[in-house]
């Protein structure tokens, strides 16, 4: 039987019905039309559906829609402030760190989760923080550089505002 | 006379003949001459091929001209990813 769920998605109240075994990813993509989170595996192994659940990095495919009751979710659609890109998004663009781009929504979210708690990661830290996000096109090189560059930019801008 | 060098799959239908001299000024007429010479040779074994004309690889040849001493080597199509 369908379950009635109230949650907050990208800062907006969201209400939906879902089956007991529907994943949060199913709800986002098929019910709410938020297709920025991608299904690459449906088993938590590729990271393309990475979202922040109450600030914690998870795969939307491994969360039930029903579990979102009363919770806050941030998806890729909620990362940029209007037309102003997040520094991570900006740096991924500047480094041309994406080829097909399907992994990028998940990379942005996972990297954001990292920089939210560690503003000065080294290369190894970034690599392990993104180990749950498969990219088949880039060999990760430019993605890692973009994340390190974004971290530096965010530190500079935080310093400038301090 | 241009010389045609056949692929193994083509030789199956030419009684083992591997090289054929034809009087032709372009690939189309050379192939027509070849087919006339060997009626058992299926068109699909010829028309799907690339060729190397005097060393220059030409994909999907048709009207490319041949010199009197040209050497035309049939080349298997290449799949690509």
């Amino acid at each position: 039987m369908a379950i009635h769920v109230h949650s907050t998605i990208n800062g907006q109240a969201a209400e939906f019905l879902c089956e007991p075994d529907a994943s949060a990813l199913d709800v986002l993509r098929d019910t709410l039309g938020l297709t920025g989170s991608k299904e690459g595996c449906n088993s938590g192994d590729c990271g393309s559906c990475s979202v922040l659940l109450d600030g914690s990095l998870v795969c939307a495919c491994l969360v039930l829609g029903a579990e979102l009751e009363g919770r806050e979710l941030l998806t890729i659609e909620g990362v940029a402030a209007g037309s102003e890109l997040h520094p991570l998004q900006q740096k991924l663009l500047e480094h041309n760190a994406l080829q097909c781009g399907i992994c990028i929504p998940g990379i942005v979210i996972a990297a954001k989760a990292l920089l939210d708690r560690d503003p000065s990661p080294d290369e190894t830290t970034v690599r392990f923080a993104l180990a749950g996000n498969l990219c088949r096109c880039t060999g990760y090189d430019k993605i890692i550089r973009a994340v390190l560059d974004a971290a530096a930019t965010m530190r500079d801008s935080a310093g400038a505002h301090a | 006379m241009a010389r045609l060098v056949l692929l193994p799959a083509q030789r199956t239908h030419t009684g083992g003949v591997s090289e054929v001299d034809v009087d032709a000024t372009d690939v189309r007429s050379a192939v027509a001459e070849l087919m006339k010479r060997f009626p058992a040779l299926p068109a699909a074994e010829v028309e799907g091929c690339h060729v190397a004309i005097d060393g220059e690889l030409v994909m999907d040849p048709f009207l490319e001209s041949l010199a009197p001493q040209s050497r035309v080597i049939f080349v298997q199509r290449i799949g690509a990813g």
Binding site: L92, C100, I143 | M59, D60, A80
Partner: protein, 751 residues
């Protein structure tokens, strides 16, 4: 043709035009499209690797409420005219039809048998369980030796080996035998002072694109059909779907969605004909998407191979004779890239006596699909590893061995063509000059070097440019952008028109909105589609000059197009820019556009040199790539970031194939690792940065000197990594992948 000398825009690294959509989640990929009234399709797959289909009973499924349509092989077209020549590939429609839906037999575990459309995904899957299929199980043929055994079960009773002196009297699993030869092999080996022969194997590896296949099809009552799908070739989807279902191609409009990786694996069709058939039957738009498991079980991996190479050389390292027997698994239907492998295996070397024998072998596994330089990485693994073994045997530096034997312009290849304008020497020199080559190594570390080669492709592309009010350019092309090609197209257009990059708005148009284009494959997009874009821009410039001449009342020969502006060489007061000319359209001959259409029958061959450093833990067999340098001739790097990206991505795919990736089947032919957990592609923490060196030896037949770059990068890494690992571990493992258990047992075996 002259190469442009003053190139202000090409060679710069601006962000891609479609980038913002891709970092914000707005870009729409294959599974991101929906339509009002849409229903869901699902596929019933074979539980057996080899079985005869005795009957399919769909009545119970059909009777379920919410089930709208079911299709089986009976719904496919009955017969096919001939092979459909679709650009670089040549497809047997009988086989393709049977791969999309099994007819007489199922030929691999996961082979599609029927498809259902229902109002929900859940219902569609339930309906699959209600379909009864009667199978007569047959013994499965699961490897090369089993397939070639004289008493082997035969997959295709109508398949007789091609390429033998006489057509055999009995069918077999050997689809074809191809022999290519130059020189006199016997004489070559007789002249050799050292002869070495080794056998190398590679496991089957999947392309591993992160986006599963997905499509949406909608058939109208008037027979018009729309398809949205993630594909490397939407024109090929049109051709194949039309042929398989007996529909006029012109009635089908295919939109290539953004594509989440392909690497060759999205050059064919799996779901699209099923979705169209279901939509025609149900009268509803039908959406289908594969699970990751479906992708692994039922879409093409690259071939598993066994390659025996024999080389003869002088003691000074001069190669005299090279011979290879190349056995490639095709999967369930003929068409492995054995031939292409044979055409690449010795191409980098000038040895006068060469032979390559290629066998295309069917087995009860998924039909292989193109995978990035199909057939070449396995071939390079064999030759390059053997040359490294030979170098060690002769006490010659392995790079020096390559210098001594590298092919040069004018040297004939084993397949009959003669190479010209190649950059192999330049790549080797870049390797020797690179600090990586001379960097010190510690204990348990080793270094490997290898050369890669791929032909690249040309073929058909068309493009249009339209001048938009305001003076900006809309650029329509028709090769799906899989790695940033819209940026390269915009750069070449901007350069040709003499306007800023950001004034070009490129798009990948659907099959009804731009002229025919062959697929995104064969590393042909920047080369051939780029050429078409340049032609389209030149066409537009001709119109612009004519308009300006008419406005000024002068001879068009006086009008020059420079820096995005028409100028009169005899009157400097005469100046008309794009925006002014656009504004005049309505009072002159109408809209301004340019068309470009090309069929490039040749392409620029490209070479690479890779250097890898690997460290091995001798206690566990674990290995780690410490450093990797990819050097490649790109002809001319239109957008160097994306060229580097190709080199880096190809390197890492090769590293994965070398170290951990493999298809593992059980004794019944069931894939044991159909997921990313156990099909182990490299993750970010497995890797170092991938250094790149772009060598630029321009290809004279392209306006910018472009060579394709996408495929060559995967050719050399497996050999470089394997040689490095064997050097580090003191082993001689010739089978890929070099997984830790295999490495450890080799270490323990040597004591």
């Amino acid at each position: 043709m002259t190469i442009a000398t003053h190139i202000p825009v090409v060679g710069s690294r601006p962000p891609r035009p479609d980038g913002a959509d891709k970092v914000t989640g707005r870009a729409r990929y294959g599974a991101d499209f929906s339509l009002p009234g849409m229903v869901w399709g699902a596929v019933l797959r074979s539980p057996h690797a080899h079985a005869r289909i005795l009957g399919i009973d769909t009545s119970a499924a059909r009777a379920m409420p919410g089930v709208l349509a079911i299709v089986t092989a009976e719904d496919m077209a009955e017969s096919f005219s001939a092979d459909v020549a679709a650009g670089e590939s040549h497809v047997d429609m009988q086989d393709l039809s049977r791969n999309v839906l099994a007819r007489e037999k199922v030929l691999y575990h996961g082979h599609a048998v029927a498809a259902v459309a229902a109002t929900t995904q859940r219902l569609a899957k339930e309906a699959l369980r209600a379909i009864r299929v009667d199978y007569e199980e047959l013994p499965a043929v699961l490897d090369i030796d089993a397939a070639l055994h004289p008493d082997a079960p035969v997959l295709h009773p109508g398949m007789f080996t091609r390429g033998l002196p006489e057509t055999p009297s009995k069918p077999s699993n050997l689809a074809s035998r191809l022999v290519m030869q130059k020189g006199d092999l016997e004489q070559g080996f007789a002249e050799s002072e050292v002869i070495m022969q080794r056998t190398y194997t590679c496991a089957s590896a999947h392309q591993g694109y992160i986006e599963p296949h997905a499509c949406l099809a909608s058939a109208g009552a008037d027979g018009q059909i729309d398809i949205w799908c993630c594909t490397q070739g939407h024109f090929a989807v049109r051709s194949y779907t039309a042929a398989l279902l007996g529909i006029e191609p012109a009635s089908i409009r295919v939109t290539a969605t953004e594509i989440g990786g392909g690497f060759g694996g999205k050059t064919t069709v799996y779901l699209e004909p099923l979705a169209v058939a279901l939509s025609r039957k149900s009268g509803r738009p039908v959406k289908m998407q594969m699970s990751r498991e479906d992708v692994f079980r039922a879409t093409g991996p690259g071939s598993a191979t066994r390659i025996t190479v024999k080389v003869g050389a002088k003691r000074d390292g001069t190669l005299i004779a090279m011979d290879a027997l190349m056995e490639y698994e095709a999967g369930a239907f003929k068409g492995s890239p054995a031939g292409a492998g044979a055409m690449t295996i010795f191409t980098a070397y000038a040895a006068p006596h060469q032979r390559a024998v290629a066998l295309d072998i069917v087995v009860n596994k998924p039909k292989v699909a193109a995978y990035r330089a199909p057939g070449a990485p396995q071939a390079a693994h064999a030759t390059e590893c053997l040359l490294n073994e030979l170098a060690a045997e002769l006490g010659i530096d392995p790079l020096e061995l390559r210098f001594r034997n590298a092919t040069r312009n004018g040297t004939p290849t084993v397949y009959g063509a003669t190479l010209r304008d190649i950059g192999l020497q330049e790549c080797l020199e870049a390797a020797r000059a690179h600090p990586h080559w001379s960097a010190p190594l510690a204990a348990h570390q080793g270094r490997g070097v290898a050369v890669g080669f791929w032909f690249n492709h040309g073929a058909q592309s068309s493009a249009s440019v339209h001048l938009v009010e305001g003076g900006k350019i809309l650029l329509q092309e028709g090769t799906p952008d899989i790695g940033g090609s819209r940026a390269s197209m915009a750069l070449m257009a901007a350069d040709t028109l003499g306007i800023p990059y950001t004034d070009i708005h490129p798009m990948v148009a659907d099959t009804a909105s731009v002229g025919y284009n062959d697929m995104t494959g064969g590393s042909r997009v920047t080369y051939a589609t780029g050429y078409a874009v340049v032609e389209a821009c030149r066409d537009l410039i001709a119109s612009l000059r004519a308009r300006a001449a008419a406005v000024w009342g002068v001879d068009p020969a006086r009008v020059e197009w420079k820096d995005g502006t028409a100028t009169d060489i005899e009157d400097s007061t005469h100046v008309l820019g794009l925006s002014a000319l656009a504004a005049l359209s309505g009072r002159m001959e109408g809209p301004l556009s340019g068309q470009g259409a090309v069929n490039l029958k040749s392409a620029a061959p490209s070479f690479s040199v890779n250097i890898a450093d690997v460290e091995v833990d001798p206690d566990t067999g674990a290995s780690k790539v410490l450093r990797f340098t990819a050097i490649q001739d790109a002809g001319r790097a239109i957008h160097p970031d994306f060229v580097e990206g190709q080199l880096q991505g190809g390197a890492v795919q090769g590293i994965g194939w070398a170290l951990n990736e493999e298809y593992r089947f059980d004794a019944k032919g069931v894939l044991e690792n159909p997921g990313f957990l156990d099909y182990r592609m490299p993750v970010a923490s497995d890797l170092p940065m991938i250094d790149t060196v772009i060598v630029e030896v321009p290809w004279p037949d392209h306006p910018f000197g472009v060579r394709g770059v996408g495929e060559t990068p995967i050719c050399a890494p497996m050999a470089a990594v394997a040689s490095a690992l064997n050097a580090a571990a003191g082993t001689a493992i010739r089978d890929l992948p070099l997984s830790p258990p295999r490495v450890l047992s080799a270490i323990l075996a040597k004591g």
